[in-house]
């Protein structure tokens, strides 16, 4: 048979056969892809290659094998429990539900004070004349008592302290405390105030109610009792009136 191919170009018989086989393989592969795409099926896992043959380890006695299996299971469970417990403990209380908040600007509250002043000071020296007293005679002085705090008070002379007393003079002195409207109204023998012997003088029975900021002129009359014994002659007395103001509700 004459061949049309030049001898150099014509493939050998074996190669021609190989070409045909390769061609068939390629067609088969493309068909497989087409099938897969059309059906949309996930390919089943290719069967695993068999494990390489190796010399097996000497088998442990059955009991020991079971025990180690149980131990490892227990160990795994313990580890799992511990992990879960720890994680729960660490985050306890943070499983919050919804919550919202709004801030109100309520400003600030300041507290007031309570304050009683006599002639604007808290410790005042009464300007009693130093005229020597004779039985039945008085000396007079006035002072303004003021509620300088932010709340109404009830003011009173709580007690009298005798600082010094010579010849027992203090025991023969009588003090009268009377609220007056003006300094000119402060005269001896006023009524409407509190009169008591000096050493035990107090106005607890008749406290004076004063609203916040109120002032009141008070007349002090110190009289030597007409029944004073002559032993008090030449004596002198120093005393202190202790005032207390209690807050009262309006």
């Amino acid at each position: 048979m004459a061949s049309y191919y030049p001898k150099s170009r014509k493939p050998r018989r074996g190669l021609r056969f190989a070409n045909r086989v390769i061609f068939l393989f390629a067609i088969g592969g493309f068909t497989a892809i087409a099938f897969r795409a059309l059906l949309g099926v996930k390919p089943v896992e290719a069967p695993q290659a068999p494990a390489p043959v190796s010399v097996p380890l000497p088998a442990l006695p059955v009991e020991k094998r079971r025990k180690s299996k149980a131990r490892s299971l227990v160990g795994a469970l313990t580890f799992l429990t511990a992990t879960v417990t720890l994680s729960l403990l660490a985050t306890s209380g943070s499983y919050a539900l919804w919550n919202g908040k709004t801030v109100i600007n309520g400003s600030s509250l300041d507290t007031g004070n309570i304050s009683l002043t006599v002639n604007t000071v808290t410790s005042y020296t009464l300007a009693l004349p130093t005229t020597a007293l004779a039985p039945g005679k008085s000396v007079l002085a006035t002072a303004t008592v003021k509620n300088a705090g932010s709340t109404p008070v009830s003011a009173r002379v709580a007690s009298t302290s005798i600082i010094s007393n010579t010849n027992g003079l203090a025991d023969s002195l009588t003090l009268t405390l009377t609220p007056v409207a003006s300094a000119g109204a402060c005269i001896a023998g006023l009524a409407g105030g509190t009169t008591a012997a000096l050493p035990s003088f107090n106005t607890a029975a008749a406290p004076y109610a004063m609203p916040a900021g109120a002032s009141q002129l008070v007349c002090f009359e110190l009289k030597l009792d007409s029944t004073a014994p002559s032993s008090v002659q030449g004596g002198s007395a120093t005393f202190r009136l202790n005032l207390i103001a209690d807050q009262t509700r309006p």
Partner: protein, 191 residues
């Protein structure tokens, strides 16, 4: 390219394709859709509205019941109220919440720590579908949503200065009780 080379490449490609495509011949399968609709989430929010108003509700007062904290001071025995409206947004089938104030948002001068006491009371403004507030412990209310999305609540915050405060404790303190950061909270609870 050499025919032999071409042939080798084609063989390799073909083998690779065949191996990759092994086992794709699936069994029957079908699918259908369920019209489940849409699920929406509810709301939980609190917001203040209007301005806070102070009032002096002491049993005896001087100068009426108005109170101006910037110019007036409190004394033992005073009882004051701070009124504020808040809007609660509460929607949700199983929504339940507690309404209260945060005690840590109030700053009290240490000298008056036990002498200034505070409390809260709230009531929902009557409206269709408004949520209901029921007292649940001191200064706390349980909010149960109604059909309306929002509810306006009148909140009254009361401050009491202990009338048994003695001596001159706590006098002349600026910022005796600081309420500039007072916060009301709404917290969800499971029913």
């Amino acid at each position: 390219m050499n025919k032999l080379t071409k042939g080798a490449i084609a063989t390799a490609a073909g083998i690779a394709l065949l191996l990759g495509g092994a086992g794709t011949f699936a069994l029957w399968n079908g699918q259908t859709t369920i019209a489940g609709g849409t699920i929406s989430s509810g709301t939980l929010a609190i917001a203040s509205t209007g301005t806070p108003t102070w009032k002096d509700i002491s049993s005896t007062v001087v100068g009426g019941t108005t109170f101006d904290p910037t110019s007036q001071k409190i004394v033992p025995g005073d009882v004051l109220t701070l009124t504020q409206q808040v809007i609660l947004s509460t929607t949700g089938k199983n929504l339940k919440a507690t309404f209260t104030y945060d005690p840590t948002s109030i700053i009290t001068d240490p000298a008056l720590a036990s002498l200034l006491t505070t409390s809260l009371s709230a009531s929902a403004v009557v409206a269709t579908g408004a949520a209901t507030l029921t007292a649940a412990g001191a200064n706390t209310y349980t909010v149960t949503p109604g059909t309306a999305a929002t509810t306006t609540v009148n909140v009254v915050f009361t401050v009491t200065f202990d009338s048994t405060t003695s001596g001159v404790v706590g006098q002349n303190l600026a910022n005796a009780l600081k309420l500039t950061g007072l916060s009301y909270t709404l917290t969800q609870v499971r029913p």
